[in-house]
Symmetry: C2
Subunit: 171 residues, 2 copies
């Protein structure tokens, strides 16, 4: 039995044929899936599953703490198992792959900053955009979640200025 199934049981969630399939696909996926991704894969195993069911199930699983919802900013939510070690995501801007990393310093720093402003840290949302440092081979390219790189829309017209992108990479 997969850990996801176990999680569902612990939450007392009833298991239908479609939920079992959804869990199976999620368990086998090595990337963060969106509702559409999931629907496509589940449909291959059983063509009679509605997208609405996928959405309803994902929503319930998230509310029950079985899944965690991810928002990489490309307007489609992704999901990952909720009981993993807390981590953040680095998005490779060259191919949309996602690397998970643990860095407790981040939360620590943000807590400090929040305190400095008179607040108590409740949580945060962070996406790190980065490109491979060609000065050496990548250690372990993992989670290839096809996140469309934060590219500018093709819309062009004139063009008088230089191109400063993204949010403050800071000096």
């Amino acid at each position: 039995m997969t850990s996801l199934e176990r999680l569902c049981q612990e939450r007392g969630l009833s298991m239908s044929r479609q939920r079992r399939l959804i869990i199976r696909v999620l368990s086998e996926a090595r990337t963060h899936l969106s509702a559409a991704d999931l629907h496509q894969r589940v449909t291959e195993l059983d063509p009679d599953i509605s997208l609405a069911t996928i959405y309803r199930t994902l929503t319930i699983f998230e509310e029950e703490g079985v899944l965690k919802r991810l928002d990489f900013g490309d307007r489609k939510m992704r999901y990952e198992q909720a009981d993993k070690e807390p981590h953040d995501h680095l998005l490779d801007t060259t191919d949309g792959s996602v690397v998970e990393f643990q860095a407790p310093e981040v939360a620590a720093l943000l807590a400090t900053i929040a305190a400095r402003l008179g607040y108590r840290l409740d949580g945060y949302r962070l996406d790190v955009f980065a490109s491979p440092d060609d000065s050496r081979a990548e250690s372990a390219r993992a989670c290839v979640t096809a996140v469309q790189p934060p590219a500018k829309r093709p819309r062009s017209r004139h063009h008088h200025h230089d191109g400063r992108e993204h949010s403050a990479p800071g000096r």
Copy 2:
């Protein structure tokens, strides 16, 4: 002349009646406005401006580096003047207000982390969720951008588990 107008001129953007109004409203706003917010306010000054124009203008202004697009995760984009000092946003989870803050340590830390993973930092997207630390009065409540706090949808049912929320506030 406002700095936004100046920015537009520098970019060689043509100024129509509607663009002038949009710039005026943006300049007067002390919060981060969404297209709908902007449209509502502009409409009060001139009822004949289409939402499509608002969107097209915001898009162009962003492409031209006049405005910066913000995504607070509530599926509506907000905008702020692009020539401000680089900063991040702290979202007050109790009332949706937004506090801007500068913290070069963040970019520095993320650059270090990226390097550790074999990447070069291109940029990042960060939202800090926090609640007022009641142990003292807030210094200066500023930008009250009504961002709907990352609250769980009302959808309730059973409830067997404890409630761990948000992304890793870290241990």
